[in-house]
């Protein structure tokens, strides 16, 4: 049960943090339509995070009393707003600052591609609620993947500057991609399923890169630790901003 709760928090943290990052583009997008697009994508992510947090809270509150002595009931809000950076289990790639439009769209491409194959596996999860959230989210992620693929192709196969910016983004983001497929301490998904997701991911990235005239980087250093609570310095900064209101005025309501 504890493994499942940790896994749910991991899924929720991933969606919340990348959703928060993308929402920073709201009102700063390069064109009105793209501003609306990325704000809508952020909204989908936050919605997915809410579903996962709600389910995690339900399971936490069902735990035997000793394991949650004197702590108030968990809710989606306590899980999002009252946990510290070292409690967060998101992948490092979700917390990196937005950079330019190439970095932002490439990150969504890498990450939504991972989610696209992950959620397809989670539809068969033994927990019916996880399966239901995955099925719902997959429809949304399909649009995210399609939108971000279009941007990778457009910028890779665009001007000299856009091509160069895309390459800079690839070199900056690639060291954070392999953490997605690493076995984690909550042991979900199973190792063979992670390997399958990785194979599917590699194939999709290769195809879109080919169409965009981009190349995969040579082997590089790979960063990891997010799922264990070891984060970059950027996560506490996000949380400071996101959690400020609940930390300063506990239990305040809109």
């Amino acid at each position: 049960m504890l493994n499942k709760i940790e896994f749910l928090l991991h899924l929720a943290d991933n969606a919340l943090i990348i959703g928060h990052r993308n929402s920073e583009w709201c009102a700063h997008g390069p064109a009105l339509e793209q501003d609306i697009a990325i704000s809508n994508i952020s909204l989908d992510y936050i919605g997915q995070a809410r579903n996962f947090y709600q389910h995690a809270a339900l399971l936490i509150n069902q735990l035997p009393h000793e394991s949650s002595v004197s702590s108030p009931p968990a809710t989606e809000d306590t899980l999002a707003y009252l946990r510290d950076a070292s409690d967060f289990k998101n992948h490092l790639i979700t917390e990196l600052p937005n950079g330019d439009w190439a970095f932002t769209t490439l990150r969504i491409f890498f990450f939504s591609c991972y989610q696209y194959f992950l959620y397809q596996q989670l539809i068969q999860h033994e927990d019916a609620q996880i399966a239901a959230i995955a099925e719902k989210s997959l429809k949304e992620v399909t649009y995210h993947l399609r939108w971000s693929s279009d941007w990778v192709i457009r910028l890779g196969d665009g001007t000299k500057e856009s091509y160069q910016r895309m390459n800079t983004a690839i070199n900056a983001l690639w060291p954070f991609t392999q953490e997605l497929f690493q076995e984690n301490n909550f042991l979900q998904p199973a190792k063979n399923i992670l390997a399958q997701i990785q194979t599917d991911w590699n194939e999709k990235i290769k195809n879109i890169f080919e169409e965009a005239g981009l190349h995969l980087p040579e082997k590089s250093i790979q960063h990891k630790g997010g799922t264990k609570g070891f984060h970059t310095e950027h996560l506490p900064i996000i949380l400071t901003e996101m959690q400020l209101l609940q930390r300063a005025y506990p239990n305040c309501e809109w």
Partner: protein, 161 residues
């Protein structure tokens, strides 16, 4: 539940409009999954269109208020995710209402076949199919933005989902 009461509840729900698309009732939108009455306790199950749809909380509240007004004591509004909502559940009447309101209704059945670039969406104003996708995301999560090349009007398209 007896038939008369059943009809009464459905009629109440059919008068509640989507806050973003005020011509479309939540019944025509296809988000009402079931109504159950057990020992005076009414439970209405609704399913969200998109995970992050901000309208869901407002809709839940509206349903609750309308049922309270109609004399149902403490109705329970349940949000369920499965079976997952699809645009196939929008009624034919709902699709007509969308078009009349200026939003092109979803075309086709299956989600996967509905690549936005590959479909021709008729303009809800002049019916021309000479239209162009401007953005895959429109004013809300459930819509895409199109432009008509003949009457030059921009319009929303309710995406297949």
């Amino acid at each position: 539940m007896e038939a008369a009461l059943n009809d009464k509840v459905w009629n109440i729900l059919a008068a509640i409009m989507d806050p973003e698309i005020p011509v479309l009732s939540i019944v025509d939108l296809g988000i009402v999954r079931s109504i159950e009455l057990n020992n005076q306790q009414l439970t209405v199950s609704i399913t969200p269109t998109y995970s992050g749809c901000p309208a869901m909380d407002i809709i839940s509240m509206q349903v609750k208020m309308c049922l309270l007004n109609a004399g149902f004591k403490l109705p329970i509004i349940k949000q369920i995710l499965s079976p997952v909502w699809t645009t196939d559940w929008i009624t034919d009447y709902g699709k007509q209402q969308l078009k009349a309101y200026g939003i092109a209704p979803p075309i086709g059945k299956s989600f996967d076949s509905a690549y936005l670039e590959d479909i021709s969406v008729p303009c809800p104003q002049c019916n021309s199919t000479n239209t162009l996708l401007v953005s895959q995301f429109g004013s809300t999560s459930c819509k895409a933005l199109f432009k008509c090349e003949d009457c030059l009007e921009p319009f929303d398209y309710f995406k297949c989902h």
